[in-house]
Every structure is written in structure tokens, then in C-alpha cells.
């Protein structure tokens, strides 16, 4: 899940300073999307500008990430389905070791580890499949796959969540109304995500999709497994993006060779790109939830896109939707514990992790995994808050002592 890639804002900057029409496609293309070849002789002004722009783009990520997390938090606090175990608790197929299915290896930890391994294996496999598909230019296959899964996600999960809401508030709902709502919501999503639509609508759908995905994970993964998967995915992300033979790294490099943008499906872009197939990341994950990490990795889309319309300001920091999902999963899991301190601690921790990652990005100027820092800081603070800070805060709140 190559989390963040910053377009070479150097070029951007000067372009918008002297608002001349953009450079010829190829070179622009390259510079626009492959951070690695930002010219070293960028001069200070550009650096300076870059910082400003960097900050701007960071904002453009922080806002949607926070929004997504907030959606998840409130969904969990209001729709009680997610925090209380349904009976009988159902889990994803990919986590065979749990208390429900009889086959369990004694301790929950070992179960969780096994599940995590299975899931990770699946993720890696899926990523490799995607990389191969991209390598051999099976764009159509990828497209179809993503379309299908986005279809499933937008319709099925929307209906599911609606039903939960209806049950929560105990009011009557008929099939006609609910199907109309789902139909409207889903179709609009498909249109705006796969074709053209207002930026705000696109981004809104991306957020909602990620939030739903996260909720599904929280609901259908065993507790311990969830934590292990969070950790495992973060580690895998690190490896996949940075290691020279990591699949995502390979993906990026192939894209460079072909001198075509790593197509931004599965990627939330802070500004509008010509994302014909933008944001199908989740669909993949929904289609095969365990795939979300790979899904959120940058992947190839048909390069067939109106190149000449590339605009300078349309470069921006991009964040894989998988990162959205897993941030939200962490925060959402914190929200299931009936304590707001933990939630806020995780929230802030994740944002800090994000900022840190962006800072590093600004320094090393190459595609970076967005998960590791945030997730680990988040987990640390989850544990600490849950077991150390909260008791103290409760005591203080009871006796109204403010520090």
C-alpha cells in the first residue's frame, strides 16, 4: 500500500507561478507522477514553495482522514450492531480459527496469529495477481474486477448498513423504499467513481466506502485477529513499498518504465486528477476484504485518459484508500470500548503519524508506506490509554480535579 506519493510540486509550483500552459505530456507525466525523479537542483524558492504546498496537501489529507474516522466512530457509537457481538457471531471466511468454528488452537493469541498469516498470505497473493495483471497490461481485467467489486460494495453493504440503522431506531421500513435508496446511492456512486462527477461527490463516496469497509472489518474479524492484522499489514506495507523486490515497489517501477501514471484507482487524491477509475480501491477490498491492503496500493489503470487536460494544480498528495480503511479500523475498534479518551488518543496519534510520514516524504521524496508509523503509534496509544490513562482520568473526573 504505497501510502503517499507527492507529485513533483516543484514543476507544479513554477508552472502555476508563471501560469504558462503545461509541458508536453510525457515529461510532465513523468514528473507529475514519479516522485523519484524530482530534479535535485530544485532551488530554495521551490523548496520553500514546496513546504507551503506540502502543508496544504497535508491538510488536504488530514481533513478526509479525520472525516472518515469520525464517520466510523459515530457509526459504531450509534448503530450498536458493530460493538456488540451478534449471536451467533459470524466471521470472515479467511479467519477460520475463532471461538465459533470448533477448530481453535487453545489460546486466542495463536488463533489470531494463524488467522493473520492466512489473511496476509491472501493479501500478498492478491497484490501479486494485481501486479502481474498490470505488468502484462491486462487493464480490462483489472477494470472489470474493480467495477464488479465496487458494485457489490456500493449496493450490498449500503443495504446492510441501512438495515442496521433501521433496526437500531426501531422504525418500520419497506422493501420498496430501502431498495430505492440503495439504488439511488449505488448508481450515483458508480457514476461518480467510474465516470465523471463533482469532486466533492467523488470524495464523499470514497470516504463512505472506506468507512463501510472499516465497519465490515470491525464487525467480522475476531478481536485479537483484528489487532494482529493491523500490525501485520503495517509491516507488510513497509516491506512491499520499500523493499526493492516488494510488489508495490515493482508496480511503481513498471509504471515508470512505461512512463505512464500509476493509475490512481484505489487512491484518494487530495486534488482532482483525471481519475476515470479513481477510488476503486475499496471495491477490491470489499470484493475480497482481505485484499484491501493490496487494493489500496497504487495500481495501473488504462493509460487511456485525456492527457492534454492534465493541469498543474491537479497534482497532489495521494493516499491509498487502504490507509483510510485501516486508520478507521483502529479508531473504530477503540470506539467499541465505551471510553472516549481512548478514541481521541488513537485519533490524535494516527494524525500525528500521518503528519510524520508526510514530513519524511517531504524529506526523502519517494513513495512511502503510510500505515506503519500511524498504526504503531496508534496501537501504542490505544494500549496505554486503555490501561493507564483512562483509570487516572476517571478518577480525576470523579473528583473533578483538572490538571
Amino acid at each position: 500500500m504505497s501510502g503517499i506519493r507527492m507529485s513533483s510540486v516543484a514543476v507544479t509550483a513554477e508552472n502555476c507561478e508563471n501560469g504558462e500552459p503545461q509541458a508536453p505530456e510525457e515529461s510532465h507525466q513523468g514528473q507529475a507522477n514519479i516522485p523519484e525523479i524530482v530534479e535535485p537542483e530544485d532551488d530554495d524558492a521551490e523548496e520553500q514553495e514546496m513546504l507551503k504546498y506540502g502543508a496544504k496537501h497535508v491538510m488536504m489529507l488530514i481533513v478526509p482522514v479525520s472525516l472518515c474516522m469520525i464517520i466510523v466512530i459515530f457509526a459504531i457509537r450509534i448503530i450498536t450492531m458493530y460493538d456488540q457481538v451478534s449471536q451467533p457471531q459470524v466471521y470472515l471466511v479467511y479467519t477460520p480459527f475463532n471461538d465459533q468454528t470448533k477448530k481453535t488452537t487453545g489460546s486466542p493469541i495463536s488463533d489470531a496469529v494463524l488467522n493473520m498469516l492466512i489473511v496476509l498470505g491472501l493479501v500478498i497473493f492478491m497484490t501479486c495477481v494485481l501486479v502481474l495483471l498490470y505488468k502484462y497490461r491486462c487493464y480490462k481485467v483489472i477494470e472489470g474486477w474493480l467495477f464488479l467489486s465496487s458494485l457489490i460494495l456500493l449496493f450490498m453493504f449500503t443495504g446492510l448498513n441501512l438495515h442496521e440503522i433501521v433496526m437500531r431506531f426501531n422504525f418500520a421500513m419497506d422493501y420498496i423504499t430501502i431498495s430505492l435508496i440503495v439504488w439511488n446511492f449505488g448508481v450515483m456512486g458508480i457514476i461518480s467513481v467510474h465516470w465523471k462527477g463533482p469532486l466533492i461527490v467523488q470524495q464523499g463516496y470514497l470516504l463512505i466506502i472506506s468507512a463501510m469497509m472499516a465497519l465490515v472489518f470491525i464487525k467480522y474479524l475476531p478481536e485479537w485477529t483484528l489487532w494482529f492484522i493491523l500490525g501485520g499489514i503495517a509491516v507488510y506495507d513497509l516491506f512491499a513499498v520499500l523493499c526493492p523486490k516488494g510488489p508495490l515497489r515493482i508496480l511503481v517501477e513498471t509504471a515508470e518504465e512505461r512512463n505512464e501514471p500509476i493509475f490512481p484507482s484505489l487512491i484518494y487524491s487530495s486534488t482532482m486528477m483525471w481519475t476515470i477509475t479513481m477510488a476503486e480501491g475499496d471495491p477490491v477490498s470489499s470484493y475480497n476484504p482481505l485484499n484491501s491492503s493490496s487494493s489500496s496500493s497504487a495500481q495501473g489503470s488504462p493509460p487511456a485518459r485525456p492527457q492534454p487536460e492534465m493541469e498543474p494544480e491537479e497534482q497532489g498528495v495521494k493516499l491509498g484508500l487502504g490507509d483510510f480503511i485501516f486508520y478507521s479500523v483502529l479508531v473504530g475498534k477503540a470506539a467499541t470500548a465505551d471510553d472516549w479518551n481512548t478514541v481521541m488518543a488513537c485519533f490524535v496519534a494516527i494524525l500525528i503519524g500521518l503528519c510524520l510520514t508526510l514530513l519524511i516524504l517531504a524529506i526523502v521524496k519517494k513513495a512511502l508506506p503510510a500505515l506503519p508509523i500511524s498504526i504503531f503509534v496508534g496501537i501504542i496509544f490505544y494500549v496505554c490509554t486503555r490501561w493507564c490513562i483512562k483509570p487516572m482520568c476517571d478518577q480525576m473526573a470523579l473528583s473533578q480535579v483538572y490538571v
Binding site: 456488540q84 449471536q87 493507564c388 483509570p391 476517571d394
Partner: protein
Amino acid sequence: MLPFFYVLITSAYSNTLNDNIYTSIDFGRDYCFRLNNFNSQIGCQTSRDGDSGILLQLHSAEDIENTLKDLEEPFIAVLDASIFNNITALKLKQHSKTRGLLLIENEESKVDSFSPEKTCPGNGFNYLENVTDVDVSAPHQSQCIRKQLWNPKGNWLSYDDFPFGIFLIKSKSQKEIILSKAQANIENYSLKPYPLWGGEVRSFMKSAQNTETCIRRGTCDPLGGYNVHVNLIPRDEESKKPIILLIAKTDSTAFFKELSFGEQDSGVSTAVLLAVIKALSKVRDENDDLKADIMITFLQGESFDYSGSQRLAYQLNPLMNDTLQLRSFSLTIDDIMCVIELGPISTLKDLYLYPAKSNGMTKKIEEFFASYNSSNIQFHAVEPGTPLPPSSIHSFLRENEAIPCILLTDGHDNIQSNVFGSRYDTLNNNENLVSRVKDLSEIIAKVTVQLSNGTGASHAEVPESLVSEVLDCFLVNLNCTLLRRIGNQFNSTANLPNSTLSRYSGVRNSFAVYLRNISLDFSMKDLSKIVPSVEKCNATYTQNWAPIIVNDTCFGYVVNSSSATSPAFKLKDYSSTKYSTWTESRWSPNFRIMGSCCSRQKKSRKGKVVYEYDKVPDSFHSPDSQNKANQQLHIQHISERDVVSQDLLPDDQENGTMFLRRITMDEGSLRRSLKNRHRGKGSLSSDRGSPSTPCQLQKANSCSTIFIDDNTVSQPNLRATLKCVSLAIYYHIKNRDKESEFVDILDEKRHPLTKQPVPSDYARNDPPNNYIYRFIKNLFVSAQLTAECAIISLIYIERLLVCADICLQPSNWKRIVLGAILLASKVWDDQAVWNVDYCQILKDMVVEDVNELERVFLELIQFNINVQQSAYAKYYFDLRSIAEQHGLTLPIDTLDKKRAKKLEARSQNEEYDKLAEMVESGPVKAISLENLSKRRPSAAVIS
């Protein structure tokens, strides 16, 4: 590292603000709940998220008047339970701000006259000789028979519908908490805006409106429980002995779920009837020849419009397709000689005999009873024409007026107890109750014997200790010596609740199981005479007794139980006014005190926990309340309910084997089997076919050598099975009760199986047995079908007969059998025979015709082709039994390894798996019985 962890864990449990604001109070199950019937909902209901209001203590009706006059904020009334009656309830109900009601129960302030019941219990479901008996002017349109208010004290409170929750508070600590808060409120009620103590009541009932609605939405479950039938000796069907039916209602109404003691209502009569069982079985053991069969039946659900007795009467009615399949025989209402019911008995001084219709029989009974008049028990015959009090008898009369019934109760023209149907219905210390019960039960036993044999039985007596034990169990504490002893001897791991028995029948209750256990223990007969050895203590050897090994002696019993849910639910007629339609809602209760300033109770908030309950359906129907939180249990609960109805109650099955009944209709077979019985007296089974087998009879199964024939439930022997099946079909045809209207496709003339012309009298003379056998055998051999197919096809045939309401007759049997086998082969075999192949087998039959036949067959049985394990086993064993009756059993010899492999008697371990999961799932008390009843099939594998 470790100490640090320790620190973490300990510090994790600090008390949060929430714990300081809310003190949740768990009321166990002492709150009022919601019931539905065909047209109404009764009981209590709060809003879904709970209703909150200030705690307000009220002392009297006037107090309510004055306090509530100018009260604008919502409140939760705290009331002394003794002043909760219809007046106060009405006042609270009328006030718009009432959000809940907490009743403080005080032992000292006991109410001696309070009956929340109807003035005429069971009205609308009583038997009315003629319509003029109904008195519409009576309150609540109660159809009191001839203006006879049986329960004049009744104030109908239980039948009111409250829009708020009502809880009863018994535990001392809870009382203290609530009263102190309420007190505090009174003190500073004047000085607003001082915060007042509040409460939040939550007992959210899911069902609404009426039974039809809530059943449709699956938010309620039919009331009932189980009827328990005890026979002294296994009824043998052929000798049409009349049956004397002794019945008593065992349950009682409940306003608060767990608080329905109903001791005067039904407690004593139940105890008496149990004692009667003991007495009678003594008589039985002394002299073995009772002219009439005696059946003792404990009815449940009676308090809710007689659902139990209605079901029984319905089952007894041969026309209804719901015969009461007791273990080895079935009953119809014609077999019943008379019904004697024990009504409410509190003072066993003067007992009144109410004949339903006074005729010779009832006269005789009255005389018999009168002959036992003594100083301490007086029997009075009421003058003819007195209306019959509310009692189970009404249901029997509604089914069939002719049955002579008599009710024995102590109320004269109105009920004796002033607390009928209330939680105060406990026995006020009746002096020498034990001896009276003893006397009464002995008298009843004697009368019964007298009825059957004409002469009284001198030695019908019950040990006084036993009576006191029974009373102790049912009136004082369930955790009593008797039940414990029985539990041990049936090696059940049942842990008895340490409380008084609650008689509310509910959806399912453990009460029936206690009754069954005890009566089983009382009526057990030592079979060591007829069973050669303990190893052979199994169904085959014990004739019709259900075998059970108690400390290394083989006993037999005939105790059955059948569902007591009203026929309305069997008929799926949920708005029926003919049958009882009571259902119990599913719910999730909760209550918490709030707005505390210094309450430091470290209680966890029930809100969440409870909220999870209503995700779990009817968690509160589980019989033992300590399992409430354990949701695993409730999940299996639903499924486990019908498991119960099949395994714990083998008689409650939809598909009883019809052919057995057909056979018993047959005199020929009757004579034969009687003859056999004489010969096979004391032998292994009713008969071993050829008379040259007695030497074999001495062979005994032991651990080392097992004698077995090639015919087991898991691997039936083809030839034997086919023989039996053909026999079954033969009897079906032979004893068909009516010439049914013909179904075209099944008619042989229209669709001949063979070219040669069908004889003109094809519809008249019955085919001989061996002809049928050949026909079937031909099909099976040429189609290479297995024996299981035969059994399944028999099941299908009978399904067809039931569903299509036709009979096997010479005109149609061939095609029906063919269709059944066709279907069975397709369902059973993995690579089924094609219809075309059948055309090969029976020549000159066109495939279209076969297809058509198959289609019609499927339609007629409503595409219900799946066969329950239990049903299969049932058929198998019944087939075996005819096999034995007709000497078709295979020669038995020792079981060696390869035969064992071949037989692969896997049914046994399967049984045990099932048993094991019963143990972890079901109510523990049921297990002991599971043990008993489940031994049977597995034992029969080695026959």
C-alpha cells in the same frame, strides 16, 4: 514485567462515572410481562430505550389521588405490594405521567383476599350445554355459566394491559436502596429545583397486538409446556380395555413470571395424583389383572384457557390428524371409560363431586366415593343441574359430550381460595395435610380400582413419608430429598433450583420434567421376571415397557409426555375462538436507579448486557434463570426446543406410523399375536416366529458375545424389510376405512402398468400379501434399490395418504407404491434410477406416464420429501415389531468382527454424540430423561 502487568490489570477496573450515576438493579424474573391471545395483549410494556421518571412513594389510593393531582413530571411509582389492586392500578394507568411501578413486597403485610383472575376462569372456552347458559350481562362479557361467578373475588388485574413496566422487589438490599431514595425524594420534593432521585425502567416486550400478529412476526411463542401421561401397565391395543383417565391441572397463572405458586389451585391436587400413582402401582404389583387400563395425566397450560386439555382432547379425537402417539399404542376418545379430574383443593375436608352429565357411570363413581366417607374427609355429590365449575373437563366435553366426566374439588358453587390466581396462592398451614392427602389419594386409588375391577383394592396405600416428601417438593422447595434421590438413581446431573416451584407453564418449563421423573419413579415395574438378564434390558425384551436400568435391575415404565400447546397452533388458526391462543412475548428487561449523589454501589450497568438479550431471542424462556446471561445456550435453545419435542417426547411427532394402527384393526393379526403372546410368555420378545426356538432364547448377550441378525437400523436387511413393507401395505389396503375419491393418475385402469387388460374387479378384491411382496421385490431387485429405500418409500406412501387424504386400495396401490419407490430411489440413491429405466422394468409403461405419476405424487405430498432421522428410526422399529408379530425375524447368531464391520452400527455413537450435545445445550433436568428415552434405539441395534 509481571508486577507491572499486575498493576495494569488491577487498575483497569476503576469505577467510572457511569457506575456512580447508575445503580442497576436486577430483578431476576419478578416483573410483569406480556401475553397475547387471539384478540388482545395483556401485561406490561415499556418503551424500547426505557422509561425514566422520579421515584415517588405512594401509600394508598387516596395518596395516589392527592399526589398525582398536580404532578407534571414523569414519575415511577413505588407502591407497597399489598395495596396494588385494580383500583390503584387503574389510577396509575389513567395518569399520563406514569412511567413505571415498583412494588415493595413485605412478608408481614400478606393479603388474604386478592385474585387478579377472571370472575369466571376460562370463560369462552367452557362447555355450554345451551346458549342460554351464557350470561352476557356479567362483567367483562364473561360467559359465566348460568350467572355462576366461580371466582367472585376476581378483579381481572392479570388481564389488564399496562403501558408501563411493573416490577416486584423482594430482596432486602434492593428494597432498602429504592425506599431510601424514594424517602429522600419526599423530603426534598417541596424544595425544587433540588434534584430528585429517578429511575429508569426497561422491560421491553417485542410482541404486540395479538397472537396472529406476533406469531407472524416471530416475536412470541405459544404457551403450553407438556402433558405427562402415566400408565400403570403398557396398554395392549388388541384387548380393547376401557381406560380410566385421572387428570389434574398442574399449572397456574402468573402476573410476575416467577411468582405463580398456585398451591391451592393446582399444587395439592398434583401431589394427590402423584400419591395415587404410587398407590395404584402398588396394587398393580400385587395383582396383575386390572380390568381397565388406568391412565394418569398431568395437564399443563390449563390456566390459559385449558390449552393442555384442549390439546389432549384434540389428540384423542380420531378424526383429527394428530393422534396421541404414546410409546407403544395410541388412544382415541372412544377408549375412555370415564374421566376423573382433581380440581382445586385447599381444605381436604369437604370435597364435592361435580358430574359433567349425571349418568350411570358418574352415579357409580359418586357412590364409590361416598362409601369412603369418613370423619376427616367428606364427599358430597352436588345436586344435578349445578353448573360445572371451570375445569379441564370442559375441553373433553367440547370434543365429545358423551364422555362421563366427574370433577372432584372442594369449592361449592364458588372457588374456595380467596387468592385464586395470585402470587399469594400458597397453602395456609393446613393441619395434618399430609395424612389428609394420604387418605384422599388412597381413596381415589381404591375407587379407581373398584371402577375397573368392581371390587375395592384393600392394599392401595401410600407411605406417609412419601406423601410428605412429595408435598415438600411441590409446596416448599424444589431442592428436596425426593427429587434428589430420583436424580441420583437416574444418574442425571440435574442441579435443582433452591426455590419454591413456580407453576407458570410458560413456553417450556422444567416442571413437566420433574413430574415425569417422579411419576416414572413411582410407576416403575420390576421386570426382572420377564427379562432374563440386565444386559437384555431393552425394548425387544421388555415387550411394551420402556426399559430402564436402575441400580442393576431392569425396570419398565410407561410414562409419556406430549405437547400441551393449544390445537390452535397446530391448526395454525391464531385467531381461533374455539381453542386457546395464548402466546408469551419475547423481551429484554432492565431497571436502574439514577441521579445519585453519593451512592457507591459497585454494580455493573445492566444496560449493555440486557440490551444484548433482545438480540438473543427469548433468552428468558430458558428454564433456569442462572443461565440467562449465557447466550450460547439460548442460541441452541430454539433449535433445541423441537429436538425436545421429538426426542424427549417421541409421541409428539407429526408422522406417527399409520400402518401399526391399521394392523391392530385387524382381528386376524390380533388373534395371531395373542396366540404368540401365550407362547412367548416370558421369552425374549413377544414372539420368535417358529416354535422351535426356545433353546435359542437362552442365548444371552454379553460383552464377549452378541447375538444379532443381519438387520439393523443403519443396515436394514433388504429381504426382511421388503417383507415388512409389503405387509404394511397389505394391511393398509386390507383395513382401509373408506373408499376414497379417486385420483386419476393413481388409478390403474386409466393408466395400466401392463398391456394385458386390467380385470374389471381390479378395484374390489384386495391383493394378497405375497403378490404385493413380489411386486415390490421385482421393482427393488431390478432397480437395485437398497432397503432404506423401502422404508423411505413407505414413509412417502403414508405421507401421501395423509396429505391427499386417500386410502391405499386395490385400484391404486400399485401406482402409489410405484410412485413412492420412484421418489425414494431418487431421494436416497446418489445415482438414481431414471424414469426410463422403470419403463424398462415394467414393460409397456410410457415414460411420460411415469413422469406424470411422479409429478402428481410430489404435488400431493406437497414436495415434502425430506425424512427425519427420528421418523426413519421410528418406521424401522415399527417394521421390526410387525416382523416379530408375523414371525418374519431373521435367525440370529453371534456377532463376529466382519459382520460387525458390515453392520457398522454407527447409529449408537451417533446417539451418544447427540446425547452429549443435549447435555451441554438443553435444560439440565431434561437430560436424565434424555438418557432414558434415548437408550432405546441404540439398544435396539443389538437385538
